[in-house]
């Protein structure tokens, strides 16, 4: 890619320290991770609680010769992403729940047109305008497609600021490898909180990335490239659909990520991701101190979902307790994975309300008292 020069600015580069602990906000880290991954274009639109992402991009993207543009709407922002991705550049947009809904049209086109890009959703309470408090109620929208048609997005769900950095960087590699949109989901708490983070010493030089021969960069010395999601002839569209499905199957074989804690002797396995898992982990420590044999199974990729791995856990425990900041969404995928191997219970908070560790400890101890 040719470095973009039309937005060079006088901005002095930030004296950012790499390889040692610094204190950063989740949203800031998302933006820094993208630039470190060689992302050179960001298109966004203001919405709380992700505003520090575009703010940070606006200040620092010019330092690396990249493009920052505040679009007129979420709809336009995702279509600018479509254009920049078609031109072969690593590109990102970020938003929060209502804004992600607006982007769904574009995400569907991007998926079928096989364009790599990264989309960050710092989730807030819904439905509708909802509120700006932390929520995980966009799980279905994230993992089941979101827009129209037979496509999925790979979905990464970090639970700390450090993991937000690592996974946002990795999302760009996954997007290129599987030629499609990759979603990174956090929530208002993860986006707003500050934690120590270590930024990697190595950053990606965009010119070192593998060429994208399919990109629309000018038909010089080759037939013209067409970026398209229109296949009038049904068998042609079916073939395109199936090509995507094969990629998802490959991703399911290669990219599933999860973490387990204290599962060795567990009779109860808590299944939770992101912020909910973070609260659950603290509660599990305390419940174990009270003698409850409980462990944590934390999906890191929500799509592909770690179904096989969870089924293995289900074989060993009596009860699975799904803890979500929603009225019950991931629990459906858990039930599909567990297939009756263990009893599945659900505990959810919705509307932006967050669990206290004490509530979770109480739930675990009462499950244990029931004889689970």
């Amino acid at each position: 890619m040719r470095p973009s020069t039309h937005r060079q600015s006088e901005t002095k580069a930030m004296p950012i320290e790499r390889g040692k602990r610094i204190l950063m906000r989740g949203n800031e880290v998302v933006a820094q991770a993208a630039m470190d991954a060689g992302c050179r274009a960001f298109f966004g639109y203001p919405i709380t609680p992700q505003n520090q992402i575009p703010d940070y991009m606006a200040r620092h993207m010019p330092e690396v010769g990249g493009v920052f543009l505040q679009a007129e709407s979420e709809v336009s922002a995702i279509n600018m992403v479509y254009g920049a991705a078609a031109a072969g550049v690593r590109v990102m947009t970020a938003s929060s729940s209502p804004g992600i809904s607006l982007k769904q049209e574009g995400i569907s086109y991007i998926a079928e047109a096989e364009l790599p890009c990264v989309i960050v959703n710092i989730m807030r309470g819904g439905s509708g305008l909802g509120n700006i408090a932390p929520s995980q109620a966009d799980y279905f929208q994230s993992v089941k497609g979101g827009g129209h048609g037979d496509y999925r997005t790979l979905v990464l769900a970090p639970w700390s600021v450090q993991e937000l950095y690592d996974l946002t960087r990795e999302a760009f590699d996954l997007a290129d490898r599987y030629r499609g949109p990759v979603l990174v989901v956090g929530d208002a708490l993860l986006g707003q909180m500050m934690e120590p983070v270590v930024l990697a010493e190595e950053v990606v030089d965009p010119s070192s990335l593998p060429a994208k021969p399919w990109a629309t960069t000018g038909a010089r010395g080759r037939p013209h490239n067409v970026i398209n999601s229109l296949y009038i002839n049904p068998p042609d569209l079916a073939a395109s659909n199936m090509r995507l499905q094969e990629r998802y199957q490959e991703a399911a074989r290669r990219e599933v990520r999860f973490e387990g804690e204290h599962l060795e002797d567990a009779k109860i396995a808590v299944v939770a991701y992101g912020t909910a898992a973070r609260v659950a982990a603290g509660a599990i420590k305390e419940a174990r101190a009270e003698g409850v044999q409980v462990g944590l199974f934390r999906p890191i990729t929500l799509f592909p979902f770690p179904s096989t791995q969870l089924a293995e856990v289900a074989d060993k425990v009596d009860t699975i307790l799904v803890v979500e900041l929603s009225a019950g969404q991931m629990v459906e995928d858990v039930r599909l994975a567990v297939e009756g191997r263990a009893e599945v219970r659900f505990m959810g908070k919705c509307g932006g309300v967050v669990f206290t560790p004490a509530e979770l400890v109480e739930a675990m101890t009462s499950l244990a008292r029931e004889g689970h």
């Binding site: 004296p15 320290e17 610094i22 204190l23 950063m24 408090a133 708490l189 120590p196 609260v279 305390e286």
Partner: protein
Amino acid sequence: MSERAGLSERSIVGFVGAFGSGKTEAAIGYCRVAVAQKRAVCLIDLDVVTPYFRAGDYREALGREGIRVIAAPGGLASYEVPALPPEIGGALGSPEAQAVLDVGGDPVGARLLGAYGPLIARRGYDLWLVANPYRPETADAPALEGQADAIEKSSGLRLTGVVANPNLGPGTRWAEVQSGLRLVEQAAAGMGLPIVLLAVTEDLLAEAEKAGHPLLCLKPIARPPWERVGED
């Protein structure tokens, strides 16, 4: 340490600084010291930049500690419509309590001080820059000085001191505080400003005594739920 060490003698004391430098926690910590010393204070939440972790969110808890908080009316603060209540003007002009200002981050947040500038200047003020060199935007002396300069320009007021707040969040080690503090000292010297307070969490107080600065003990009020394990 003298009775009033670290407390401002002015009618108004404002905490300014970069996003995430710890202004709210410092302002709350300051009010706690003042209340402990039977000084009347009124904490004014002037942060209209970020609708999270603002003093106004903790109005009730702080009220129980004897700290009056003026912020956007209850509920409103948690919507995306930050608005400033008219009581602020009254509190800034009142001789009954010292007004402690928790100002929004960066020059953007400090610009709002301009609206109250003449009143603040007339009443007499301290304006303290909260500095955390572990934040990437203020990671060295030139960056801190640039931040200070921009805040003075946008607020129309002069800085009178620096609150050193070198930390990496919960679990910060004393060695990390020390090396951060050296950087803040250097920046403060460059700006010709005294370090009026060194802010540390309770667990580091004993070691911090050696640093030779007035201390401000922080008991973070804005904590994610997983740091509340073991609480009811």
